[in-house]
């Protein structure tokens, strides 16, 4: 655990030592504002809730989370520091977890900085704050799931651009599984249980459940499992191809 914390602290400090953190947070907040107030019609709806805010989070994360995850391992490979990191007395699993948690905390911080919108909606009306809290938790969990996918994709290559594209593509499939665009590929030849399985993989449906305020243990378990699966895959990818 100590090794994980040490790596986590270094990574987290790394975001703020470069402009990455500031650029990301500013863009994230601006885009959130644009989506909520223009596309979401926050004022026009006349409802005291944050649905127009959370509705666009999956799409925002689709591009912004891979932007954070792409450098996690690709940069270590490019700079050669992977050789330094993985010859320290830390296991590959500890390194993967430390880096993931740092990035996840960072995304959590960016999410936390949207609190003014929660203040606004409470000032204007009388929203159900329990639902809002659940939606915040759901949004962070979904970001974690995508981050784990992106982290694994980043371990595959030394090019951050390739890591970014692979992560966006993989997250896109996970986001939309359940919608016709993905299901049509499988329906017709895949057995029903597989179709059901794929449909139940969708980030969108699990997130919308949580953001409506229904905290179902299955939704939480789903995101934890997705993150766990991809982080495990991340460790295996690193173990198999450390050197190249």
């Amino acid at each position: 655990m100590e090794a994980v914390t040490t790596i986590l602290r270094r990574e987290l400090a790394g975001y703020f030592a470069t402009p990455v953190a500031y650029v990301f947070i500013v863009i994230y907040l601006v885009m959130n504002g644009v989506f909520t107030f223009y596309l979401g019609g926050f004022f026009e709806r006349g409802l005291a809730d944050l649905e127009p805010f959370f509705r666009f989070h999956p799409w925002l994360y689709l591009f912004l989370v891979p932007a954070i995850s792409m450098r996690l391992w690709a940069e270590e490979r490019r700079a050669g520091t992977i050789e330094l990191l993985l010859t320290l007395p830390v296991t590959t699993g500890q390194a993967v977890l430390g880096k993931f948690l740092a990035a996840w905390l960072f995304l959590g911080l960016a999410l936390l900085l949207t609190v003014p919108i929660w203040v606004t909606v409470n000032y204007l009306g009388d929203p159900d704050n329990g639902v809002i809290l659940a939606a915040y938790a759901g949004s962070w969990l979904m970001a974690g799931g995508m981050l784990a996918i992106g982290s694994c994709m980043s371990a595959v290559t030394r090019s951050q651009v390739i890591a970014f594209i692979l992560a966006v593509a993989a997250c896109f499939v996970f986001l939309l599984s359940g919608l016709p665009m993905v299901m049509n590929v499988f329906s017709g030849w895949a057995p029903q249980f597989l179709l059901d399985g794929i449909a139940s993989m969708s980030f969108l449906s699990h997130f919308s459940d949580i953001s409506r305020g229904v905290i179902d243990l299955r939704d939480l378990v789903y995101f934890v499992l997705v993150a766990g699966f991809w982080l495990l895959a991340n460790v295996i990818v690193l173990e198999l191809r450390k050197a190249d």
Partner: protein
């Protein structure tokens, strides 16, 4: 102590390291010498637990580098090729990170960092971002992180590559200071470095061990060992006189220099005496200990210079 038993690493059909076996005892400074791509770095990556061997095993202080990897890594310090470090961090932050990751107790972390900062003369740049440092400083930062936990075994991959002569001298001095109680393994393709630093040399080429000797032992394999070279105006006439001597096996003239090779020993006295007797106008007369570059070529390419 490092014990390596028939260590091999294959990349597809390429045998990067092929059946390497050796042991290293404390106090030894072992130099891996070999052309580029000989398998020096791959061997070091396996010793430090970064790469898994295809076959064979390696133990560091009794810990197997595969099955007991973390314990083996704890007693090793490693400077990877090119001294990679996290460029966006300051020198001190980077050293603090390595110290913590190495499991140095929290209250000793700062003293450990200050010790290596002093030792490598990094005090002036301790708060500077690593990316802004010169190559020499970055190399020193790499060495600092390798010795921060005072390891029993130091693995240094090309520690002086790309440094200027003064920096090379400094790094060599540092390694020599640490050599007495540690095991140090360095890789290099610089011959003079081996003579300056190591008390044992392994020549590796195409993943195979071709020689394992002391630097003096290697030099003694040179055909120039104990030969005498002289420079004069009329080397051909001198050559014909000297080649009559019983001590002289052969005389060779090359680019105005005459080299006489001994049949036994004690050639230098005989040559210098006859120079005096004949009154030859000799501008240079020198004893040859042997030429390491010639031995290196002979061993790695199977040719003699």
């Amino acid at each position: 102590m490092i014990e390596v038993k028939s260590l091999s690493r294959h990349y597809g059909h390429l045998k990067a390291v092929d059946d390497l076996s050796f042991t290293v005892e404390p106090g030894q400074v072992l130099g891996f010498l070999g052309p580029n791509g000989a398998g020096k770095s791959t061997t070091m990556k396996m010793l430090t637990g970064f790469l898994a061997p295809t076959a064979g095993s390696a133990r560091v202080n009794g810990h197997d580098v595969v099955t007991d990897s973390l314990a083996a890594r704890r007693c090793m310090g490693y400077l990877p090729e090119g001294a990679p470090s996290y460029g966006e961090m300051t020198v001190l932050d980077f050293l603090l990170f390595v110290a913590r990751a190495r499991g140095i107790p929290a209250r000793e972390v700062h003293t450990a960092c200050e010790r290596v900062v002093d030792r490598l003369n990094l005090a002036g740049v301790r708060h500077q971002v690593i990316d802004t440092l010169s190559k020499g400083f970055r190399r020193r930062v790499g060495l600092a992180q390798a010795i921060i936990h005072d390891p029993a075994v130091l693995i240094l991959d090309e520690p002086t590559d790309g440094l200027d002569p003064n920096q090379k001298h400094e790094v060599r001095k540092l390694i020599a200071e640490m050599a007495s109680d540690k095991i140090i393994v360095i890789s290099t393709h610089i011959l003079e470095e081996v003579q300056a630093l190591c008390n044992r040399v392994m020549i590796i080429s195409q993943g195979r061990q071709l020689a394992d000797d002391t630097p003096a032992g290697l030099i003694a394999r040179s055909r120039y060992h104990n030969a005498v070279t002289l420079v004069a105006d009329d080397v051909r006439r001198i050559a014909s006189v000297l080649s009559e001597f019983p001590e002289v096996a052969r005389a060779e003239v090359k680019e105005g220099e005459l080299t006489v090779f001994p049949a036994g020993v004690g050639l230098f006295d005989a040559v210098s005496r006859s120079v005096a007797e004949h009154g030859w106008a000799v501008s240079e007369l020198r004893y040859e200990a042997g030429r390491l570059d010639e031995v290196f070529r002979m061993i790695t390419q199977g040719e003699s210079a």
